[in-house]
Amino acid sequence: MLKILYFAWLRERIGTPSEQIESESETVGALIEELASRDERYALAFSDLGSIRVAVDQELADFDAPISDASEIAFFPPMTGG
């Protein structure tokens, strides 16, 4: 089981802060394609990849990062704290 987290406007567009999924995806990019193909809501949320950042097990990662051993993937817009 893979825990997926969403923050800020991604959370709002998808409509949930987190979900548990079964996935065969081997990279972040593959997981995004898998999620985006689910329905319109997901497709819209992931439509502009330039404005999406990802963390694999709480570390910032690229879209080609492997996720086979990951347990927590988070998607969010560029950070605006401080």
Binding site: L5, F7, A8, W9, R11, A55, Q58, E59, L60, A74, F76, P77, P78, M79, T80, G81, G82
Partner: protein, 152 residues
């Protein structure tokens, strides 16, 4: 070193005293305090800060480690609030303490640039006209890259 992520307000003066108290080797303390600013025409009612619990602490601890690798810093501290804040309220602070001021200034400046681009916090502005997520700032990305040439 302390990293606090909290909804409560903080006291800059007390935190500075906590870093310098009972030490004789600190000559310079630099603090940065971020404040909820209202720049729009439609007045800001409040700002909501969302964060990623767990990763926020990890990301900030990594920045603090990097500070100690780069500068001679006696101690440093980060406090970041989340939740609903009003204009004029303090959002976060960074404090760096060192024997000399050049290290304290550079370390605080660096921490802010890295926090802005690497710590998982997001701001949403609530106005009478509606709510809007704050967009990330290209200037912040550029400021963060300033420090990369110095890594190698």
């Amino acid at each position: 070193m302390a990293v606090c992520i909290q909804t409560e307000p903080f006291s800059v003066g007390q935190e500075i005293k906590r870093l310098t108290g009972n030490r004789r080797d600190i000559g310079a303390v630099v603090s940065f305090v971020g404040v909820v600013r209202d720049s729009g025409k439609d007045p800001l009612e409040s700002m909501v800060i969302e964060h990623y619990p767990g990763m926020a602490e990890v990301a900030i601890a990594k920045i603090v480690d990097e500070v100690h690798r780069r500068w001679n810093v006696s101690d440093c501290l980060v406090v970041h609030r989340h939740g609903n804040l009003k204009p004029g309220e303090e959002i976060m602070m960074v404090v760096t303490a060192s024997a000399h001021r050049a290290d304290a200034f550079a370390a605080a400046d660096f921490m802010m640039d890295y926090l802005k681009t690497r710590a998982p916090f997001w701001k949403k502005e609530l106005r009478s006209g509606g709510a809007k997520w704050v967009s990330s700032n290209r200037a912040d990305e550029a400021a963060s890259r300033r420090w990369e040439a110095e890594t190698a």
